[in-house]
Subunit: 217 residues, 2 copies
Amino acid sequence: MREASAPDRGVRSRDAILDTATELMSLRGYAATSISMVSAACGLPASSIYWHFGSKDGIYVAVLERARVTLLSALPPVEVPGADIAQRLDNFLEAVEDAFQRHPHDVKLLIGLGMVQGSASAAAVAELLHYRDALLAWARDSLSFVFGLHDRPEVSHGLARFVLRAASGTAVARWFDPASSLDAEALRVALLALAAHQGVPVGVPAAAPPHEGPSGA
Amino acid sequence: MREASAPDRGVRSRDAILDTATELMSLRGYAATSISMVSAACGLPASSIYWHFGSKDGIYVAVLERARVTLLSALPPVEVPGADIAQRLDNFLEAVEDAFQRHPHDVKLLIGLGMVQGSASAAAVAELLHYRDALLAWARDSLSFVFGLHDRPEVSHGLARFVLRAASGTAVARWFDPASSLDAEALRVALLALAAHQGVPVGVPAAAPPHEGPSGA
DNA sequence: GTCTATAACCAGATAGAC
DNA sequence: GTCTATCTGGTTATAGAC
């Protein structure tokens, strides 16, 4: 396995560079991460990094792409198991919480690098959007299955957006206080109430009447 | 007013630098914002910026401090008006939504620059923590008043954390899709359900039974 | 594919006249 | 307080031997 003749020396180096860049960029951000830092941290000279990725932006795009694939393949299929809504919702939230805890780098890459407009290339921004859309689509499909919303796509979309925002907000909270976790319990209560509020039968009364517009005062 | 002899030429320049730096840093992040960019954008030479703030980090701390004061003074007092919980909650959420919409720079500074550990000074990180804590305290006190939770601080703290995370997540969503707004309606439903779930009387049945631990399956 | 060496440039920061 | 000019060091990126 060691001294792999040379055929895959390249791919091993490539992976090492990607690992290092992922860690540094998710921790410090794209702009604050320099090629020389990556070089020093992974042991390979800067020119090797350029040979593999062409430019700093090229590394960034590769890092984002791999993070997206990794995170998405760690998520379970959208046909969430469970006999009823409560069970399926618990299973869904457990999957979200699990991925969130196990892939902090990937989550943070998605979140923290939104402020890259102007510093990074259009390709990198497009990859970020792709990343976000893929996560949102997974959440939407899963929640559609959980609540049986095949005929009400706008409701499952709204719930998915809510979950994604809660997860993003928790990721933000996590870099102030690294012990922050997703609080699946609160999310469960909130999602059930939101679904009920939209008229979805969840085996529980709606939490509040629709009430159009803010009430005077 | 113009040609103010010189006494306040200084403070005007200082403010102009702060304005420019706030805009650039909230848009591009701290690391990606250079002194020369600020200099070019506000018209003053780099050495004037150093005269006022001493270092790049000094500008950052001043920007954060002013953002915190601005945002906090834009928030209404915690004695949220309203005859009942529903009215007070609506007023609270309206205040949050309003501040969120009117001060995008300040919100983004708080959010997006969490990944500054290692690039910025301890003073800057401390200022960021101070910022976050002040917002959380305001939300906690307001929600305590809204729901009448003076004797249950841990509940109001949990609700405040939930609101702050939702707002953070929305700020993140906003740099993918600038049209994103806070969705006060969803937040209203979620907060009522969460409060009810904690046994707080909100004039509405609890959304779900406490149910200890995930249900088998 | 990996290395050493270096080009070309821009960053943060300072000196000193005014 | 503001300016011009400049120093130093790190940055992205490349050349060319191996």
